[in-house]
Structures are given as C-alpha cells and as structure tokens.
C-alpha cells in the first residue's frame, strides 16, 4: 500500500474511555504552561526521561531527547494508579519499539496551522536511529501518533496540504480514540473548541513492522475517515 500522501487515519486500536472530570481535575491541578509556547497550550507530562515533572523546561528536554533510546522512562507521580494504567495501555497499543515521552495537551487558543520540522535539530539523531537514507529523515510516516482523550466528535483538529489551503477536519470513529497523522509533510492546527479539550501526544522509536501493519489495517478499516493529499 502506498501511504506517501496519507495525511490522517484513525488507528485500529480499541478506545479506552477516560473520566473527563478526573482528567480535568488532574490538568487543573498539575498541568504547566507549555514550553516554549505557554500561551498556546497547557501541558502535563505523562511519562518521559524527566526528573522534575513540575519543571516545564525539564519536560521540554524530554521532548528534545525523544529519539534517544537509553534511560528509563519515569511516570508522573501526580497520575492516579488507574490513569497511569490506562495511559500505559494506550501507549503499549501504539507501534513503538519504545515510547520515550508522552504529554497531555490542552489548547488555550486556536493553534495556527503549522508543519513540524523534517530537518530540525533532532534530525541527525533520528537518522541514526532509523538509518535514514537521505540523511535527515527515516522515521516512518505518518509518525504523529495521538490519542484524543476528550471532545472526539468536535470539529477541532485539522490538516491542510499547504499553509493556506483548505482545512480538512479529522473525524474519529466511535470504536477508537487513537489516530496517526503526518505532521512533517502536511500542515496541521486546531480550532479552540470553547472547552478544555485533552489530547495525548506520544513520542518514541517507532517499530516499522508494527507501524506498517497497523497503518495498513487501519486504512482498510477506516477508509472513509482517512485524509489523503
């Protein structure tokens, strides 16, 4: 299956429902202004190579080091046992050899359409991990693996082929909360839904075989939901 131009697909992973009020309570108490965009998101680091979960810059460092395999992933001590187990189950179901960082994001304003960097400071590390033939890529796309934790039926998250082109809002089927999107090739943003929306954004070293198998199975299953450019 040629998925070069696949921008978005729901993932064939069973939905794990969370209690919104429990999540909202956690975020109200322990989320931090995102670093380096404190006015756009509040963030709660779920797990990562982090020693100070109450320090946004330490959490940002874990994001920068997301392609480094060494070191144990720590869990945020503010997570309840139940929530930690559910987050673990969500991450285990995603096609990672090892997940290295996950955070719950809550947008405060509209997130402007943007494209993540293919050629950024993490590129050499990624190339080393994945053996990128062109020297700066290598991570299998769609590599943006996320779980919508609330407001899954609201038109908020969208993808566009180019900076100013048509916004294609994602739709998530009833039986899953997880999805994959290509954030490096395509522009993505999110309208603020007017309420606190929560999304689990995950990072790690992707297992190519599992990733290919999951993406192809998901595209076949959720063909009518997929977005291609």
């Amino acid at each position: 299956m040629d998925i070069t131009n696949l921008a978005y697909t729901p993932l064939d992973i069973d939905a794990i429902p969370l209690n919104y009020h429990e999540l909202d309570d956690l975020m109200s108490k322990y989320s931090l202004p995102h670093h380096p965009y404190p006015h756009i998101w509040d963030a709660f680091a779920v797990c990562g190579r982090i020693t100070a979960f109450d320090d946004a810059t330490d959490c940002d460092k874990a994001w920068n080091d997301r392609y480094i395999l060494d070191g144990d992933v720590q869990w945020n001590p503010h997570l309840t046992f139940d929530l930690q187990e559910k987050c673990k189950s969500m991450l285990d179901a995603l096609p990672y050899l090892k997940y290295t960082f996950a955070q719950i994001l809550s947008q405060k304003i509209d997130v402007a359409p943007h494209q993540d960097g293919l050629y950024d400071p993490t590129a050499p590390v990624r190339a080393a991990v994945y053996g990128g033939a062109d020297g700066f890529n290598g991570e299998p796309e769609p590599a943006g693996l996320k779980v919508m934790l609330s407001h899954k039926n609201i038109r908020s998250f969208y993808l566009s082929e180019r900076a100013g082109s048509k916004r294609n809002f994602i739709k998530i089927p009833d039986d899953t909360n997880s999805f994959a999107c290509n954030e490096r090739k395509y522009y993505h943003g999110a309208k603020h839904p007017g309420e606190k929306k929560y999304i689990l954004s995950t990072f790690g070293i992707i297992d190519r075989t599992r990733h290919t198998e999951l993406i192809e199975r998901s595209v076949r299953k959720y063909n009518e939901y997929t977005i291609w450019f």
Partner: protein, 229 residues
C-alpha cells in the same frame, strides 16, 4: 489594495528589480498564501562567531548609493516610499556581503559567515547585513507579491529579531535561521539596535522541510511592539 496614504500593497517595492537575483525554483506554487508566515529552517548557528565577524566587517560603504543606479524606479520616489513605510536611511541600514552585481561573497566576509552562506543547502543571493536602530518601526507592507523574482527571504538574527504580521507576532531568536514570508503584510520593529543577516533563497526546499514557527503572546512584549505605528 491601496492604503489611505496611496501606497499600493500589491506592488513589488524592492528597488533592485531583477538586478542581483538568480533563477528561483519552487516546488510549491510560489504565492504567499502557500507558505507559512515564519519557518525555522533547522540550521543552527554560532551567534558569537557571526557577531565577531560582523563587528570586524568594513561598514564604510553606502549600499544605497552603490546600487541606486540600478533601481528600477525613480530614486526620489523610491526614497519617499521607503521613508513612508519606515525604512529611512537614518533608522535602517544595509551592508552588502556580495560583490556588486553578483551573488558571490566579498573577500572581506569572515570565514564562519562565508562557510554558513556558501553551504546553506540552497543557492542564496542578495546577502547582506541589515542594521535597525533602537526605536525602528515600520508600517505594514509587502516587499513583493510572489516569490518568482526575489526568492524566499532568510533572516539569520545576530540579535533577537521580531516580525509582526496582520494578526501574529514572531520572535526570531539568535542561533537559528528563518524563512520570513515578506510577500504577506508584515512589519518590522526593534527597541534595541538589531543586526541580522538577510538574504534570499533561490529554492523553497528548506521551507518545505523546516518547522513552522508559532506566534508568541503579544502581551509578553512592551506596548511599543504590539501595534503598527
């Protein structure tokens, strides 16, 4: 698209026309809405070395005088227009880094700066230092309506720079290289003396693989920065 002052924003205001330009290639159709306002190109630089070489650079020449014979429009009209926008010669100065009439760097360009500009990943032209004095602030304007002749503007800040668009303001931290979409309405400002290296890319390649910069919270800036003069 005229303003009350009569300024036509749809026009190409760059005085040099095709002089000192090279053929521009663009995979994405070269119109402003197809590109983000600001992209971080993923090229890290040593600011201290750049600054050291800027300090040592001979700044005795006069860019305006040396190039005005090649201006496409009447010189007095050009000066009037530039003063109207905010590019008066007392507040904004350029020091070319290239041999006049070419995109070849002068022999006096420092070795680190030369290495950076000659190995940027795409051909560059109109390389120059741009110095804005404390208190400089322009009106909203566009430099040119598309990227076909003048290519894609690069900012390499030696001092942290800011650029405003109709709605958004961006902080361009020293240490990175940026594409700035000057084909959209934008304005420059600075409440400290600010030096950047500016040049034009002859290809959109690095923008396509770069990371879109997200705007900053304007409330973190002094009032001076927030509004068009």
């Amino acid at each position: 698209m005229n303003t009350p002052s009569g300024f036509d924003y749809s026009q190409d205001i760059l005085p040099l026309g095709t002089y000192e330009s090279v053929p521009v290639q663009s995979l994405i159709p070269p119109y402003p809405d197809n590109f983000p306002e600001v992209t971080r190109l993923g090229i890290k630089i040593d600011v201290n070395l750049l600054r050291q070489e800027y300090n040592q650079f001979d700044k005795s020449g006069d860019y305006f005088v040396s190039r005005m014979k090649n201006f496409k429009n009447d010189i007095k009209e050009t000066i009037k227009l530039f003063n109207q926008i905010g590019f008066s010669r007392t507040k904004y100065k350029a020091f070319p880094l290239r041999v006049e009439g070419t995109n070849q760097l002068l022999d006096t360009v420092g070795p680190y700066t030369r290495q950076l500009l000659e190995n940027f990943g795409v051909p560059l032209f109109r390389q120059q230092y741009a110095l804005a004095v404390k208190g400089w602030s322009t009106k909203l304007h566009i430099d040119h309506p598309d990227f076909t002749t003048h290519g894609f503007r690069v900012f390499i800040p030696i001092d942290t720079a800011y650029i405003g668009f109709e709605k958004n303001i961006y902080q361009l931290l020293a240490g990175d290289c940026y594409f700035v979409n000057i084909a959209r309405l934008h304005r420059g400002f600075s409440d400290e003396e600010r030096v950047v290296i500016m040049c034009q890319m002859a290809s959109d390649k690095l923008i396509r693989i770069g990371e879109t910069l997200l705007p900053i919270d304007p409330n973190m800036l002094p009032d001076f920065y927030r509004h068009e003069p």
